[in-house]
């Protein structure tokens, strides 16, 4: 959470501008910053790994638990913080859900985004452990080379547009 204290989060107003973020990388001119609604739209329809419902339907992700720090400048680092709330405090799939969200965002957002995924306070009995694992670059990279894990993640993401 230290990272979040560094800068106040700018108030972002959704302007419903549906930019396809993947096409942005060549153009270095300033553009509209990506806002929390866009992030929410990217992850809301991810399927829960064990229920036939989406992460938004289960309130694991919701709009108010997403923060974005983005100047809109395409040559500057931007930050996204997604706080997730598992349905039960001993949810063994919390790391898998977090990984699914991370993979979805890494594939959709430009490389200038640093993605932080953490549990909402008190939502899990192993909160610190899960947070640490979800944000360890090396562990995430290794998980994405594990065919079994990747298969499960692909299923979770198959309901995304």
């Amino acid at each position: 959470d230290k990272l979040l204290a560094l800068q106040p989060v700018p108030l972002l107003v959704s302007d419903a501008d549906e930019n396809e973020s993947t096409d942005m990388e060549d153009d270095l001119e300033e553009s509209d910053p990506i806002d929390r609604q866009e992030i929410f739209d990217l992850i809301a329809s991810i399927s829960d790994p064990e229920h036939p419902l989406s992460l938004a339907q289960l309130a694991i992700v919701n709009l108010n638990n997403i923060e974005v720090i983005d100047s809109g400048k395409r040559d500057e680092i931007a930050h996204v913080i997604v706080r997730i709330t598992p349905t039960i405090t001993h949810c063994s799939l919390a790391t898998l859900i977090g990984l699914g969200i991370r993979v979805r965002l890494e594939r959709s957002l430009p490389s200038r985004f640093r993605i932080v995924i953490i549990l909402t306070k008190g939502s899990h009995q192993s909160e610190n452990q899960v947070n640490k694992q979800l944000n360890d670059k090396e562990r995430v990279a290794a998980a994405c080379e594990n065919p079994q894990l990747l298969g499960v993640v692909s299923n979770m993401l198959s309901t995304c547009k």
Binding site: D75, R114, K137, E145
Partner: protein, 354 residues
Amino acid sequence: MKLLRSFKLHNDKIWSIDYSSGLLATASSDLRIKILRIGDIGSDDIDEKNKENDDDDNRLLDELDDSAHKKTIRSVAWRPNSNILAAGSFDSTISIWSKEDYQEDEVAGNNFSMDLLAIIEGHENEVKSVAWSQDGYFLATCSRDKSVWIWEADEVGEEYECVSVLQEHSQDIKHVVWHPTQNVLASSSYDDTIRVWKEFDEDWECAAVLNGHEGTVWCSDFEHSSVEKNDSMRLCSGSDDAKVKVWKFDGVNEDSEDIWICESTLPPVHSGPVYSVCWNDDGLIASAGSDGVIAIYKEDETLKGKWNCIEKNEKSHTFFEINCIKWIKNNNDETLLLSASDDGHVNMWNVNKN
């Protein structure tokens, strides 16, 4: 600091680089290891025309067989005074490569090739770092399986015998590094600690645990400049807590355990995880990480243990993360800095010593 060159080498993350005798080796998520000839580039070599004519392809000597590893190559290390390269991979194995004797003045690419000499198995899962001892006698490897293995290598680099498995870290081990003159090893871990290991009666034991970082320790490096003085061993470390610390050996306690104290926490520069630290022969420490900043620190000449940040270079690889930095000496014995990034580039920098 001044950018001398930027080499576009991989289409994916570069995790690790190592340099020896004019040759750069890279480790990448794209399963490739590249060998590049860069020893001839010097600090005054900033002529734009030179840069333009300097073709990466011309400098690329070899691209090692990408079927040797099935997953990300995480770490590479040249064996000192030899023609051997070790590479550790997420596929849990270590590959050993050898090159023919090579002369710097040979035409680039001319007859240069490296051959696979051995594959070392033993770790249960991802290998994260490999490092040779200063005499090239030992190879240390570490893994997510929470162990450091110490291997004894034969002279030609074909046979490896495991002489010790060190299992005292409680979480995965991110990095191993040897002292530049002594058989002392430091390992950095996801358990937030660094452990210092020494040889006792033909076995290896943990001599000290360094507690102080508030997050994964990604990397450490021993001080080079005081190698003559045995009693003043120091180590710098970089962590997920965005801090760089300097640790100092402070004698032995009554249980004959080594005492290490945290001598300094360097001035805060980084806003994210510090993935790499490196100490050069002139006593400068460099650090780099997720925020794309390369920081250079210099110790106060009169007040030992007091450090100043003398350079903060932002956007060193535009907005990409830096995974590894290394001080190197070129063919003219000049000290330069290399950085390797998620953008697949290795950048080469000239750093002002003051």
